[in-house]
């Protein structure tokens, strides 16, 4: 290394950095192993399995959206096809008694995702932006409708089921109990996350970012942006296939819902809500959205409405997602000015929560009268019982919603001032905000 390079280049990681880095992954692995001992119920094991699958799927989606700047409306195609091939493989393997254990089946899903991404992606990746988004939507519709037409392969409405326990046993595990499936999912999640992280740190990964930022200029540094997008698309399909296969193994069934628009929409929500600008964003989003969809559906019949409202709120108020919100505060934390903004958050929390409570009360009342107007008006939402026909409740809802909004709006300005003050101090200390 020359004189110039050693002072101009960013410092290479020292041993302490490397230990910290690898320590993080080891800690994650240990946490995954220990999790079932802390949360022992069967329900939480299922939840963790779903979260793991969702993490792989969301990260694979972010290879497109966050890393390469491609908005896909049909990512479930590769997830679903991975799932179907996994189910068929399990059936074929057990019928022919092939020496392939269950933990290798996700690899078949991955190769399926890769194959179809390679076939379908060449044309759609010619362009990014609207053209890519529209083609992805068209391909998704095509595959989703084929799933209902080609009944021998996709099984029609019922789908295809399989028995995962009939395969070659590995260390005496037949993968019947949920705990064994949890460990299978956890292992694949860790492998896939490490692989996708590593991908961001390669020449291809960096050129993906360059294509995202400025595909025109990429052409003038020797790279073909179409080739970069196509390779990113293939990788994305590969990892989506792993997620789909794990889902198929978890449920022992694959059906047309795997390929559908709802599945494609959910992964977009999860990735965006988590934050597309950071590697861990989709992980956060997958955890949040999985908990939300499991939790909300118990609390209210119109949980998808709230889901949509949360998505809109994130797009409008926090385009960096949940991760972006936290990262915004990192520079304040470094500058020691975080304490200046926290009180303003507490002040604004009360009226904002009041406003949200009023909104929920209004929504639930309206839902009651539009969905089942003839029934008993004493309803329960979010664990709270109230009489949807009572004028007092209507007045309360209106007062909370309007009053909350008017007060909250004042406090938001207060937050803005506190924020500006804290960031300018941080900037004076030379910490970029």
């Amino acid at each position: 290394m020359s004189e110039i390079a050693s002072h101009a280049a960013p410092p290479l990681p020292v041993v302490a950095d490397k230990l910290k880095f690898y320590g993080l992954w080891v800690a994650a692995a240990v946490a995954l192993v220990l999790l079932p001992w802390i949360f022992t119920s069967g329900g939480s094991l299922t939840t963790f399995s779903l979260i793991g699958i969702s993490i792989i799927f969301a990260l694979s989606y972010n290879i497109l959206l966050g890393q390469t700047g491609m908005l896909s409306f049909g990512h479930a195609v590769y997830y679903g096809l991975g799932g179907f091939l996994a189910i068929h493989s399990i059936n074929i393997i057990s019928a022919n008694k092939l020496p392939i254990p269950l933990p290798l089946v996700p690899l078949i899903g991955a190769l399926t995702g890769l194959l179809f991404a390679a076939l379908l992606g060449w044309v759609s990746t010619q362009r990014s932006g609207t053209a890519f988004a529209m083609i992805s939507l068209g391909v998704a519709e095509l595959i989703a409708s084929s799933a209902l037409i080609l009944r021998t392969f996709f099984g029609g409405e019922a789908g295809i089921s399989a028995n995962r326990t009939k395969l070659l046993k590995l260390f005496g595990w037949n993968f019947g109990p949920q705990i064994q499936i949890y460990y299978l999912v956890a292992a694949w999640t860790l492998i896939a996350v490490i692989a996708m992280y590593a991908l961001t740190r390669t020449p291809l990964g960096r050129m993906c970012n360059a294509v995202r930022d400025n595909p025109e200029r990429v052409q003038f540094v020797g790279y073909n942006p179409h080739a970069v997008r196509y390779l990113a698309f293939c990788f994305s399909g590969f990892f989506a296939g792993i997620a789909g296969a794990l889902a198929a193994i978890n449920f022992e069934i694959a059906n047309s819902a795997y390929l559908g628009a709802v599945q494609s929409g959910t992964v977009l929500f999860a990735t965006y809500i988590g934050g597309v600008g950071f590697f861990i964003g989709p992980i956060v989003g997958a955890i949040f959205v999985t908990f939300l969809s499991l939790g909300l559906s118990d609390l209210t019949p119109v949980w998808q409405l709230y889901f949509g409202l949360i998505f809109i709120a994130v797009v409008v108020f926090a385009p960096g997602g949940i991760t972006g919100l936290f990262m915004m505060h990192r520079s304040l934390l470094k500058a020691g000015t975080l304490t200046r903004v926290l009180p303003s958050y507490l002040v604004t929390l009360v009226p904002t929560l009041a406003m949200i409570a009023g909104l929920i009360l209004s929504i639930e009342t309206i839902v009651h009268f539009t969905e089942n107007p003839g029934e008993d008006s004493h309803i329960k939402a979010f664990g709270v019982s109230f009489d949807a026909a009572s004028p007092y409740i209507w007045a309360l809802a209106a007062a909370l919603l309007i009053g909350g909004f008017l007060v909250a709006r004042k406090t938001w300005a207060f937050v803005g001032q506190a924020w500006d003050g804290a960031t300018s101090v941080a900037r004076e200390k030379g910490i970029a905000a």
Binding site: M1, A5, R206, A210, D213, F220, V221
Partner: protein
Amino acid sequence: MSAAIELRGVEKRFGEISIIKNINLSVAQGERHALIGPNGAGKSTTFNLISGYMAPSSGSVLLRGQEISGLPPYQINRRGLSRSFQVTNVFANMSVWENLRCAVLWSTGQRYAFWKNIDNLPEVRERTARILADINLTARRAVPAGLLTYAEQRALEIGITVAGGADVILLDEPTAGMSHAETERAVTLIRRLTEGRTLLIVEHDMSVVFGLADRISVLVYGQIIASGRPEEIRGNVKVREAYLGEEAA
């Protein structure tokens, strides 16, 4: 020895309108050649035709004697021709260091590698650092390119253009919008970075043109009306009428 860049009867039409009419231009290897002309003369279009951003309607573009017209920009770049843009065209969300590194990758043979750790490529690191030091942005290496000052962005623009080691460099108004002092620094930088390479530059600032160029071509209404050494151009009657006017007086 064949010319670094040669345009033979190049024409570019948009529908009925001919923007470039029969350009013949030759830039010798190792020469610093300036392309001047009034606004709308077709200077940037000429750059677009040479760099592959557009294909000529007729005629041919040769790079070191080899036909390149009709090739996509990345293939022309891989043959050793690199251009900058009049409007700053960088990777705005990526740091200065990442910007320059992306510009170095192809020329060091990394291609689309997804099996190599980008921080573990000594040649890439060395060359990126060299360019970073050359354009004096070492202190700003971690800043996203979109947050740089205008002059810094222009320096980065030149840095990205030369980082791949191309021996034919096209610079499109590198000093546009700069103060006098910034222009002087930019010219010194350009002189240093294009040492031993072929340079074709579009520039409006005549002090830059006459200070830097070995030869000058004058483009008016899509045609080259004169080509020659600075003193020849200064004395050319047609050029004075069409363009230079009081600036040369």
